[in-house]
Assembly symmetry: C2
Homo-oligomer: 130 residues x 2
DNA sequence: ACCATGATTGAATAATTGCTCAACTGAATG
DNA sequence: CATTCAGTTGAGCAATTATTCAATCATGGT
């Protein structure tokens, strides 16, 4: 069964129209919606979301967000139950995704949450009780 | 090496203080930040982000967001290159995560994006150019 | 120059995920 | 009530991911 046959029956059911014209018009609408939905930002967004979709990485970003200042890698270690290496991997992925920025200061590395990271966390917080 | 030894050296380096007191005070600050960061919402948030962190599921939510109305499962099928089963699995996970709601109408099932889903997508859109 | 330390990288591996197929449930219709 | 159709569920498998260990890079002190 082609996927548009089901759509055709659906449209006949819901809207009374049952001609091919009806179907292709709705299909065109849906594809317009799809085009608006799936711009080039899609991959970037999914990358960002994947980076946040892990407890270790989420916690790092949350901590930076709450701290409101840049933190040294060595300050995360006591708060996260994973190896230094895992923390470093996490920070790399977060940097690639545009959620944190890195700055060298002598032998220490300091990380800060980006505006984008803060925006997403604020949206999560603001919509929690909806 | 304990993870607080490094922190101790860091604080000595950055702030001049080198006593145990300095370290335990900063540790207390960090743990307070951590506590504020890692509330009970953590698992829920990571679940939500995991649900969105997949192209198929992200597209579904985007489509619903752009459409601004409820859509029938049969309307997604022509737009997504996966099986009906995969769409159904995706919708279940999105429902569990609180990103979409489900409604029965006769033999059809209609889904709608939640306010939370819309809030997160708006945050992503609004922070894209930052 | 050498060494110690902070952090990163790459390989290896265990765990998780995403998809499909096949079987199933529930609703409408003859 | 048998059949058809919309959608869901669960098992199984391929692909991806999260972590650790070991090796390495980079910085600063001796």
């Amino acid at each position: 069964m082609s996927s548009t046959e089901r759509l055709q029956r659906y449209l006949a059911d819901e809207r009374g129209g049952c001609g091919d014209e009806e179907v292709s018009q709705r299909l065109a609408e849906l594809e317009e919606i799809d085009a608006a939905a799936g711009g080039p930002a899609l991959d970037q967004d999914v990358g960002l979301l994947s980076a946040l979709a892990n407890e270790t990485r989420y916690k790092i970003v949350r901590i930076l967000h709450v701290a409101g200042e840049e933190l040294c890698v060595c300050e995360f270690a006591p708060l996260l139950d994973v190896s230094d290496s895992a923390i470093s991997h996490a920070l790399s992925q977060l940097t690639d995704a545009g959620l944190v920025t890195r700055r060298k200061e002598g032998k220490w590395r300091k990380y800060r949450a980006t505006a984008r990271a803060n925006a997403v966390l604020i949206a999560l917080d603001g919509s929690r009780e909806l």
